[in-house]
Symmetry: C2
Subunit: 321 residues, 2 copies
């Protein structure tokens, strides 16, 4: 167990940049830095750069402060027992990389590693919108749909660290093609990619819609036009919100959470999308779940992974480690 | 904690009968009796009858044996902290009934109560087809679709005891009507009720099919005709199996289990249905899950709830109590 006064370093590794942050034992973010990942240089070089970033951060420790360890959120499933990255689609060459041990060796410090969406769930549960709740369902809806689940105060990691991929649960048998090659996934109906795909397909057929004049035609642009009242844009945001609400309902039936937290770029959409999510979730759950159903925006924004990595070091048992 | 040599009484409460069983501390079923529930007499009378059944069973304790407690599997969600039945659709008047405390008072023994499908999952995990696995997904497919989940050796009960209702996750947005009043639930596509519904709808349109001559036209009859080669029956069993496999895939993405166990009446179907389940699950999961995917029939049959109730008393922490 870390000592009560020990600090923690958290790392959030992404395809274009990684961030390093210093937290105190109460989970206060004291300092944060971002560095380019340079993934094209391969895993060893990236690990060296992360280690250098952590050593820099160590120099920021308050006088007399000690360090409990380093937590890393990685954009890949992580073997929970061995701390090994299976395969990170956004990091060239990252297949079966022993992230935890390689970083621990470079830093001579205890390291704990986990999947970024799972750790973001832990972060929101410990320090964000899910604070003071025992059972949390977390969704991050952006290009894809990621998720993480805290049940009775413990993060689900699964047998091989692959738990929490709700983006690929089936929501529409034989539905639209997903980026994963399968059909009808939650992600294929609710993600920013899905909103963009439908906008590109439908805009040419609706010459009166403002969508045809938006360049680039992003999901955020569709949301803007929806909030301004464009009928096609409204239809697309409502469909995405309805799919999101149905996915939330499925997860509520499975987990019976006391709170559902939604983050990611699409969650910054306006009230039209949020209303569709709330309405659809209530339409799709059994009556017994209605009184306790709370669906709220994430509280930590892009920092959820960093907070989660810190939370994992501060409380390894809750992180499933 | 129960002493290592203590016995356990397990009760499985159903709408038409309840069963009482005596287990030793190793989970061996020593004796089992069934009694009519007489639910029409109301909760107090049913509780009296259960208490009498338990007292009868107590007389069967081996000389010098002690009793750790009584476990009860109930056909309803149970508040995990208070042992209260929310509402049992098959038991008249069972709304907000403090099952645990009412039975404990009648017997002057420690009582633990849980939902029957959840406890069946625990039973299969501890004593059945999921023995020696840490993370288990359990489905029971009969008139409805029930489920239970063991993650890292602990049963999921949720915030209010409502976890494990995967039968009502959405598998087909705007799909067929479910018994719950919503559309496109897993149960509306994969249950025996769904197979029966489609058989009744389709048989009159297929005069060559043997299904039109089956009376009663049950899901089991459809399975028999499918195994004999009837084309319509094959189509219906394959569709139900495909929906089941898609539901399994969704749960595999969420939980990353090391085993998926399927029980219930429909799971006694022939190889045609099982092949469709296995094929569809593999079609619908991401590649990373394929190497470890194991989907097997339940090992305890109708006794899973009894074994689970015993397992809960022997190991309350694993039962989420």
């Amino acid at each position: 167990m870390p000592s009560a006064s020990a600090h923690v370093i958290a790392v959030d590794l992404g395809g274009t940049q990684f961030r390093v942050a210093l937290f105190d034992a109460a989970g206060r973010l004291l300092r944060r830095e971002a560095f380019p990942t340079h993934g094209e240089q391969g895993p060893a070089a990236v690990l060296d750069r992360i280690a250098a970033g952590c050593r820099d951060m160590l120099t920021q420790l308050p006088a007399g402060g000690s360090l409990a360890g380093v937590g890393v959120a990685a954009p890949s499933p992580i073997d929970p027992k061995r701390g090994v990255v299976f395969q990170a689609p956004n990091l060239p060459g990252w297949v079966d990389i022993p992230l935890r041990d390689e970083l621990a060796r470079r830093l001579d410090l205890p390291v704990l590693a986990g999947n970024d969406a799972n750790l973001a769930a832990l972060g929101e549960w410990r320090f964000g919108a899910g604070r003071d709740h025992g059972d949390l369902v977390y969704l991050t809806i952006s290009t894809g749909v990621g998720s993480g689940f805290v049940s009775a105060g413990r993060l689900l990691v699964g047998h091989s660290g692959l738990a929490g991929e709700a983006g690929h649960m089936v929501l529409q048998l034989d539905g639209p093609l997903c980026s994963c090659g399968k059909h009808g996934c939650f992600e294929a109906l609710a993600s920013g990619t899905a909103i963009h795909r439908e906008a590109v397909r439908r805009a040419p057929l609706a010459p009166d819609s403002a969508l045809g004049r938006r360049d680039p035609l992003t999901a955020a642009a569709v949301d803007e036009e929806a909030e301004r009242g464009d009928p096609l844009a409204r239809e697309l945001m409502e469909a995405a919100g309805r799919a999101t609400g149905a996915g939330v309902a499925s997860l509520v039936h499975i987990f019976d959470p006391d709170i559902v937290v939604i983050g990611g770029g699409v969650s910054r959409s306006g009230p039209l999308w949020w209303d569709a999510v709330q309405r659809s979730a209530r339409e799709h759950v059994l009556l017994a779940y209605l009184p306790g159903l709370r669906i709220v925006p994430a509280g930590l924004g892009d920092d959820a992974g960093l907070f989660g990595a810190a939370a994992a070091v501060l409380n390894p048992a809750a992180a499933g480690a």
